[in-house]
């Protein structure tokens, strides 16, 4: 079970991610907004996502697994930083229950291509 994320905490998470990306990808922090696409605009990759998730897990005491966040992000078609922050806030609030509920709701869906 998670907890409610306040507007101030959401702003802090966004600022943490922004600073992290600016440092790691060596871009001007002013260029990073809620609308920035980490992959297409900044050249980020999966290792960056892994690092961000790990950093936030530690900093905000997030109990869920990387896989859980990955499952949720897979469903939400997240493209920009603002959407990623919203997704992380929802994961913090609802924890493992969020993905379990979605899996039950999509029990008949095939992932094969």
């Amino acid at each position: 079970m998670g907890r409610k994320v306040t507007a101030e905490e959401r702003r802090k998470i966004f600022e943490d991610i922004r600073q992290f990306l600016a440092d790691e990808l060596e871009v001007n922090i002013e260029e990073i907004t809620e609308e920035t696409d980490v992959v297409n605009d900044l050249g980020g990759d999966s290792v960056i996502f892994l690092e961000i998730v790990e950093e936030l897990r530690e900093k905000y005491g997030i109990q869920v697994e990387v896989r859980t966040i990955g499952q949720y992000m897979l469903r939400k078609a997240i493209t920009n930083i603002g959407q990623a922050v919203d997704a992380l806030c929802e994961v913090i609030e609802k924890g493992e229950e969020l993905v379990m509920a979605e899996q039950e709701g999509n029990a008949g869906e095939s992932r094969s291509s």
Partner: protein, 204 residues
């Protein structure tokens, strides 16, 4: 594998389908645009070699409902789709294509980095074996490349449980991937000197 040239709109006009040109134009970062273009060029060169594709502008990357990329190829008889995967990082793009319909393939290329040693608790399991002696930075980067290639073949991205997904190397770069939930794949990894680890996974 395709070494990245500077971004060239002329190459885009030769190799890209109309829908891909729109996507290419939306990428704002020049370095990212160059890598994106290089990955498409590599994929279409594979399609020329494996499928006999004559005009690269008659093929384009699309995605299944599950978000898995497919190369659509249009010929006189209609449109066929084939499993494909692309990856790019730090100046290098790679592509993989399976010429048989209804198969899976995933490819990943990673620049060797110590970061993955520090993140190993997120993705390395006790049973993982590459079967080839490598320095720690290389081994962890290669394990990540192998597992990410598998995740892409399964259409999972970071949703794969990387720690319970096992890599079993056979000693010559070939490996098997086992996941309790998703089954088994075969793979091949390569060291691309001086600094890239590359892996491809496919249906066994």
């Amino acid at each position: 594998m395709w070494c990245v040239p500077p971004p060239q709109d002329a190459a885009a006009a030769v190799f890209l389908h109309d829908e891909e040109i729109s996507e290419y134009a939306r990428i704002r970062a020049p370095a990212r645009a160059g890598l994106w273009l290089a990955s498409r060029v590599a994929l279409k060169l594979l399609a020329w070699k494996l499928l006999g594709l004559q005009d690269p502008r008659c093929s384009w990357v699309t995605k299944s409902e599950a978000g898995v990329p497919r190369l659509a190829v249009e010929d006189g008889a209609g449109v066929g789709t084939f499993a494909c995967s692309v990856s790019h990082t730090d100046g290098l793009a790679v592509a993989a294509l399976w010429a048989t319909p209804r198969r899976r393939v995933g490819v990943d290329v990673q620049k060797v980095t110590p970061k993955l040693v520090f993140l190993s608790h997120c993705f390395v399991g006790e049973s993982d074996r590459l079967g080839v002696p490598l320095p720690a930075f290389w081994a962890h980067t290669m394990l990540w490349a192998c597992k990410e290639a598998a995740a892409k073949a399964w259409g999972l991205g970071l949703a794969l449980d990387f720690r319970t997904t096992q890599i079993g190397g056979e000693g010559d770069g070939r490996f098997q991937v086992w996941s309790p939930r998703h089954g088994q794949l075969k793979g091949q990894f390569s060291i691309l000197t001086p600094q890239w680890a590359c892996a491809v996974c496919f249906d066994s």
